[in-house]
Amino acid sequence: MANSLEFRHITKYFPGVKALDDVSFVATGGEVLAFLGENGAGKSTLLKTLNGDYQPDEGQYLIDGAEAHFKNPHEAIEAGISVIYQERQILPELSVAENIYLGRMPTKYGFIDTRRVNQMAQRIIDDFELPISPTDRVHELSIAYQQMVEIMKSYSRENLKVICFDEPTASLSDAEIECLFRIINKLKAEGKIIIYVSHRMSEIKQIADKVAIFKDGCYVTTLDAKTATEPEMIRLMVGRDLGDIYSSLDRNKQIGDVLLEVKDLQSDEVDGVSFRLHRGEVLGFSGLVGAGRTEVMRAIIGADRMTAGEVYLEGKPIHCKAPADAQRLGIVLVPEDRKTQGILSNLSVLGNINISLLRENSNALGFVNARKEAEAADRGIQDFNIRTPSPDKKIVELSGGNQQKCIVARWMETRPKVLILDEPTKGIDVGAKSEFYHMICEFAKQGLGVILISSELPEVIGLSDRIIVMRNRKVSGEVMREEATEAKLLSLGMMEEVAK
């Protein structure tokens, strides 16, 4: 009988969010089931509730029809459920064999029987047809082989039933992906249940038999991977045709003179970037993660040190040594990572909105005017439609989208000239996304220069008047709105990688 793993009404809450909402479906052995969904759709959370890292608030798991419950990942592994994460969970200083049999090495007279460990490991390595030795130190192996060691570690358990891969190919080359797929197919042939989380459509088509689609914490449906089309999958993932959102936007038509000019900017992370931003313009920044987009902005506002180059605001040269300088000049940044760089988690909504207004809100002695703060908070909550029961609510109690709105409100209250948004819609739900898009257009109409860094191609194409593409710390191209296509941005952003 084939193995089976049933998810039954799995529900999981985090403060401010329902991360998983009544998820029910069945995975069967001998099949590769892909999880597909946007960031924050709940795929990783589901894996973590499966392997005992999180406890589901409601629902249960049935393995081969029997209810299973794991208090921690260790119990899950003992029961034959393994999750291979992006971050390696191996000990780099130990050998391949030691990693595979960590914690259950065979002993002889109370000492570890190294020879037997190595023999056992060699058998698995042979099974996997890998060119490594059991005695190799793991840190000397490539990332891909390190990942293989982790897989072998799971595989070496005789009772392995379920093996989950969380975005396994994120840091692998094409050849290495081939190798991984060969092993996944081997596991599949042995009847294991394989769950494969990925963003990459092409990969899913190649390796998966079925695709389970997730959206906003809910399970949507399962499709046959071979017959499902990409547009169909995207439509189910996003829940509606995003094309509509963009075409319904009321975009600013009047673009003014040059507001911000950057010439040959250099920092430790950026090699000579130049661009211009006009009043009323939305300037998109596209490119791969790590191409240097965020770092350009950080250097402009003085969060990182600018080592060379010039920045002009309204024609006057400026040099920001700290974000405080940029704020005084009217250049503000809504950072990419809301949790670690945006919100002040110990403060209320009111405190978060007012934190950059302390100077305006206080008198000569430094006393803060509570009435002014309350007014600014009320304004922000209204203008940006922040859903909170009260301004005194702790910001962490709001949903991601509403937290982000607080950060935008914080900056808009300072009346900036240049608003830099770094991945502003990452991890927020579709409804809030469209609110953000309307806001961005509104800001442009007010004459602000808006810089939009986004990894979502439709978003950057749908919103920007002009798009700058970065690759490997440099600008690799500039595309006007009319000429922008996903293919063009991708090729500008990845040319070197493709050539390799």
Binding site: A303, P323, A324, Q341, L347, G351, I355, G366, E397
Partner: protein, 325 residues
């Protein structure tokens, strides 16, 4: 418009203090007397001053282990200066300047050398204790200066100078923390220093100011302590910082930073000092030594309470998000 915020934690602490006083009063009938209460305040005054500095630093996510030896050093320094004929006013100024310099050194190590405050101030603790002994050849320095001695003896409305200083410092420190731009910045950088910097703050400057304030508080504390003892002793005030930190944590300041208020610290200081004095008065053998055990116990209770509060907040947040949908 807005009602006075009633802080649940503060109520619990006040009740704990009342119970503590009641318990010691039952055990010793001389405990609840004006003289004894004033004595408790006098004994609390130095810990109180230092705890004000710690309230700021710990909310910022920093710490300071140097006050004990710094107070001893500054005390010895001031008594040496007056013994060599220096005017009392000038002595106070020089002592304060020395406190500021040590504060700046702590800030330099934390901001520029990127040392953990715990480690950086451990360095200062050791170095300043060493200097306290070196400048006086290891011998305590008696004071003859009449102004200096007066400072230790003078009373207003029955309370000595040291207690008034503590009260005034608590009020000023509390108002600054709760009502001013600086106070808001303290909470902001304690919540998330990186985010606060991106929001236009200068976390390093705020940390520097706080260490300098601690230096000033230590110099004032050192002078008043010497005035009371009528001599500067290089071996004095060992573990002062631990009493102050315990009081601050007991008062509800989270060790992780970002949370707490001055009211809590006031009661934390009173709790600790009442406990110390009370234990001495109920006639337990080795009371001095039991104080250490007791303070450890108090700290454990405080940290456990902090943990339970945190877990409860998380539970409440989860319950609310469940209701919301």
């Amino acid at each position: 418009m807005k009602k006075l915020k009633v802080n649940g934690n503060l109520i619990v602490l006040t009740i704990a203090l009342v119970i503590e006083i009641a318990a010691f009063s039952l055990l010793n009938h001389n405990f609840l007397t004006t003289v004894n209460m004033v004595n408790i305040l006098i004994a609390a005054s130095l810990v109180g001053l230092v705890a004000i500095g710690h309230t700021y630093l710990i909310i910022e996510g920093q710490n300071d282990l140097s006050p004990g030896s710094l107070v001893a050093f500054l005390g010895v320094l001031s008594s040496l200066l007056v013994s060599n004929g220096m005017n009392f006013g000038v002595t106070v100024l020089i002592t304060m300047a020395a406190g500021v310099i040590v504060g700046l050194c702590n800030a330099f190590m934390v901001n520029r050398l990127k040392l953990e405050a715990f480690i950086a101030t451990l360095v200062t603790q050791s170095v300043m204790r060493g200097f306290a002994y070196i400048i006086c050849d290891g011998k305590s320095v008696g004071i003859m200066n009449q102004t200096f001695i007066w400072v230790g003896k003078a009373r207003l409305l029955g309370l000595p100078f040291s207690v008034w200083l503590m009260i005034i410092a608590f009020i000023i420190g509390g108002v600054i923390l709760a009502k001013t731009r600086f106070g808001r910045s303290v909470y902001a950088i304690g919540g998330n220093s990186q985010a606060a910097r991106l929001a236009g703050m200068n976390p390093q400057r705020i940390v520097t100011i706080s260490f300098v304030v601690m230096g000033l508080l230590c110099s004032i504390g050192g002078i008043v302590y010497v005035a009371r003892m009528q001599s500067g002793q290089p071996s004095a005030n060992v573990n002062l910082e631990f009493d102050a930190i315990t009081a601050v944590i007991l008062g509800g300041v989270s060790f992780a930073g970002g949370v707490g208020n001055m009211g809590g610290t006031v009661i934390g200081v009173l709790l600790i000092q009442t406990f110390n004095t009370g234990l001495n008065m109920v006639g337990i053998p080795n009371a001095n030594f039991w104080q250490y055990v007791g303070k450890g116990g108090l700290l454990l209770i405080a940290l456990t309470a902090d943990y339970i509060r945190k877990v409860n907040t998380e539970k409440r947040l989860l319950a609310e998000s469940k209701k919301a949908r």
